[in-house]
Amino acid sequence: MRRRVPLTICLVCGIVMVIQFFVPHPISQTLYNEARRWFIIIASFTLILGLESLTRLHVNRVRRRQSGWGYSIITLVSLVFTAVTGVIWGIGEGSLFMRIYRYIYAPLQATMFSMLAFYMASAAYRSFRARTPEAVLLLVSALFMMFGRVPIGDLVFAHTSEVIEWILQYPSMAVQRGILLGVGLGIIATSLKIILGVERNWLGGT
């Protein structure tokens, strides 16, 4: 029963919404608008679910004194403090909430991502080696793209931008399009499997 009910809801909703797409009748349109509203309401509740999951995970980590539990305390304190400042003093221009966002959260996240440049440079130096003809091809195109994606490329060779645009618009796009078609067919197949109840991983468990 616990599995049959959600599977039936999924089957009915899936088939009804597929049929609805091809029927321009006002009743069909009303159904579509109503489903759209429901989806936004359900999506809002996923935020609460995420908050509950995050809190439970870190509270348990602190309670069991697992490794790195100190970071969990920082996470929980930051979560509560940011939320409280937003609720009490608002989220408008110049508010404490926006200052936390601008001067703490944004620089921290940007710094974490910027560190990738250092790791990438190190990895490129150590492992980007022309061992096979395929590796040579990849190496040459990568070097040319890196050279062409900065202004100095045009200063050295006047048509660098045009060559880069050509690479992106023809050889690269041909491959991308193939991947996109594959992904599209995969999405259709997976959606059908979910609607028809063949794919049941989304229910959780085994």
Binding site: N33, R36, R37, F39, I40, A43, S44, T46, L47, I91, G92, E93, G94, M98, Y101, R102, Y105, A106, P107, L108, Q109, A110, M112, F113, S114, A117, F118, M120, A121, S122, A124, Y125, R126, F128, R129, A130, L139, L143, M146, F147, R149, V150, P151, I152, D154, L155, S161, E165, L168, Q169, S172, M173, Q176, R177, L180
Partner: protein, 280 residues
């Protein structure tokens, strides 16, 4: 000696990268900008927005992508506020709202006369990705009954004539993920809405198929795309403010050159090492 250079300790590589980034930024090294067609097309699309319509800017990114996408946000806002194009600002990501507000605060210093609800409207965030986009195609007022500051959307003069995609000339999504395809599928395919993308350099090549089919009107690819848009805004006389993307292109250039040099050096040394091993 050969082995020593090939196995250069990581801290030395990190130091070289740090210098390659820091020196051009300190010296303020700027390079000439050459505008590519996808950037020019998007700029002209915004430029051609009539008074009866608006531009919709969706900041669908988080702070990790600030270096590449924030200059795009600022440049587009400057363009719209200076050229008196109505602009709606929103985000499909909760973290993107803060960045949109930061950009607005920064740009409003340059255009103090720009008024919320008259020149621009900050819609904020509503969860639901695809359903939000579909909702915008039906009725913006229903998806965002209030703006970010809590004002009823119907009370804003600008929003009285903007109801759905029919009143939007172009949607611009700034993103570092596959969210652009959601805009293509739901806004362009279903509602024939013109869509432009500002994306990180990593995902820009994956977007070209949509440009070729005409599903996208333009593309700003990475920091280079941002610098090109900034340059166009500056060249048209819309803003004389700080051009952060153009300033950063110097650092990006030296870093690219450093990595190119390091890859070439390591391959030359590697081939010498292989030859020596064969002869031994």
């Amino acid at each position: 000696m050969l082995n020593k250079i090939l196995n250069l300790p990581r801290p030395w590589i990190y130091l070289l990268v740090a210098l390659a980034v820091a020196i051009p930024l300190i010296l303020g090294w700027e390079l000439p900008v050459r505008v590519t067609p996808p950037v020019k097309n998007l700029f002209e699309e915004v430029e051609s927005t009539p008074d009866s319509q608006a531009v919709l800017l969706s900041c669908d990114y988080d702070p990790s992508l600030v270096p590449e996408l924030y200059p795009m946000t600022v440049a587009i806002l400057r363009h719209c506020l200076s050229a008196k194009k109505h602009i709606l600002i929103m985000s499909l990501y909760p973290q993107g709202v803060g960045l949109a507000q930061m950009a607005l605060e920064d740009v409003k210093k340059e255009f103090p006369n720009a008024q919320e609800g008259i020149d621009y409207t900050f819609l904020g965030f509503t969860p639901g990705y695809s359903m939000v986009i579909l909702g915008l195609g039906e009725d913006i007022h229903e998806v965002f009954p209030r703006d970010y500051y809590g004002n009823p959307i119907d009370s804003l003069p600008m929003m009285r004539k903007i109801h759905n995609f029919n009143d939007i000339n172009v949607v611009i999504t700034l993103c570092g993920s596959g969210i652009y395809s959601t805009w293509v599928v739901y806004a362009n395919t279903k509602y024939r809405q013109k869509v432009g993308v500002g994306a990180t350099a990593v995902i820009a090549p994956a977007i070209y198929p949509y440009l070729q089919t005409g599903q996208l009107v333009g593309l700003l690819g990475g920091l280079k795309g941002a610098s090109e848009y900034e340059y166009l805004v500056y060249k048209k006389g819309y803003s004389t403010g700080r051009r952060r993307a153009c300033e950063r292109m110097g650092a990006q250039t030296t870093t690219h050159l450093l990595i190119i040099g390091m890859i070439i050096l390591c391959n030359v040394l590697y081939s010498i090492q292989r030859r020596r091993r064969r002869t031994q």
